[in-house]
Symmetry: C2
């Protein structure tokens, strides 16, 4: 088929849901790649421009905001972080799927900037399961865990804005679910079907 353009997938989900692991599995498929964010923060030891981030000046970031070149952006501790639209579009044109691992607020911004983006919400099997995952990390105080659970709940309240929901109970199943979503989305009948019809038509006419 001719519509070999890639698609943009947003994967969101509360911290501790296992989003990172699932994204890594999905990225093993060479058709899929992460989006590289733009940031105003300083590069750290070993970070490379264009790999971890596009490191730009404050001015350049603002310039990108002004010409509407962010699918989403946010500030964290005085630094800007954003997803540059032009770079994502170039990848999609090349037939790559672009994966955006961002929070719900970012996901909603992306959907507004690009309604054809596919939003996947990763859910924990239960808050109890999420709690024990966070506890097992052993790195956080009970207060911090409580905060995270409340934040998880706040995020889940936006699930209605998402297209798909995947419960990460057994990891392999969740990965396979995300893969099925990506496959199905590639099989959608495109808005413009004339090229498809023409292809069969011309063949029948013996062209």
């Amino acid at each position: 088929m001719s519509h070999s353009k890639g698609r943009l997938f947003v994967i969101s989900g509360p911290s501790g849901t296992g989003k990172g692991t699932i994204c890594r599995e999905i990225l093993k498929d060479i058709r899929n790649e992460f989006s590289v964010s733009m940031t105003t923060r300083e590069p750290r030891e070993g970070e490379e421009h264009g790999r971890e981030y596009f490191f730009v000046s404050h001015e350049e970031f603002i310039e990108n905001i002004n010409r509407n070149n962010f699918l989403e952006y946010a500030t964290v501790f005085d630094n800007y972080y954003g997803t540059p639209k032009d770079i994502v579009l170039k990848k999609l044109e090349k037939g790559r799927n672009v994966i955006l691992d961002i929070d719900v607020q970012g996901g909603l911004q992306v959907k507004e900037a690009m309604p054809e983006a596919v939003l996947i919400f990763l859910l924990p099997p239960s808050l109890a399961a999420l709690r024990s995952r966070l506890e097992n990390r052993g790195t956080e105080t009970p207060e911090k865990i409580e905060k995270r659970l409340n934040k998880a709940l706040d995020e889940i309240k936006f699930i209605g804005e998402y297209d798909y929901m995947v419960v990460n109970d057994v990891r392999e199943d969740a990965v396979s679910d995300v893969r099925s979503i990506m496959t199905a989305e590639a099989l959608r009948v495109p808005e413009k079907v004339l090229p498809i019809i023409r292809r069969y038509e011309q063949e029948q006419k013996g062209e």
Copy 2:
């Protein structure tokens, strides 16, 4: 998750595309079942009421038309054939996916009667491939094959009304594509998300 209702899938595609074989594979999954049509034609040797068809009188069929109980219906050689809505809905309620193997005209009727139905169009890799499949059957005259190819083209012109398109080149791939579509559709965020949010919420409140 609580939304365990099944979904209605329509699979259409030109004669010779391999629809029957693919449907049989899909039906190996116990969650999926065929819809049984209602007809006014006489049962043949070995056919069972409720298995091959629901065999009904002309009056009963008309009564079903009048109370709007068909997702689609058509007449073939003076006999009526139709898909009874009430029976399909009962299966969906039980969490079964219902598969409808019908032509494009029927598919469009179903979409109108039930917009949430998922329409899958099965395409041949090319008309040349379709031609050789029909020729290999060895049962049809060149004129009949030409007619079928023209009919195939007429059907393909409606592809824009369908949700998904699957090219049946390698059969295993086509089956896997249809399975991915079915999996993805089951993962869609439902229209009503409050029960999902409530479930997590109540848990956090310790209920």
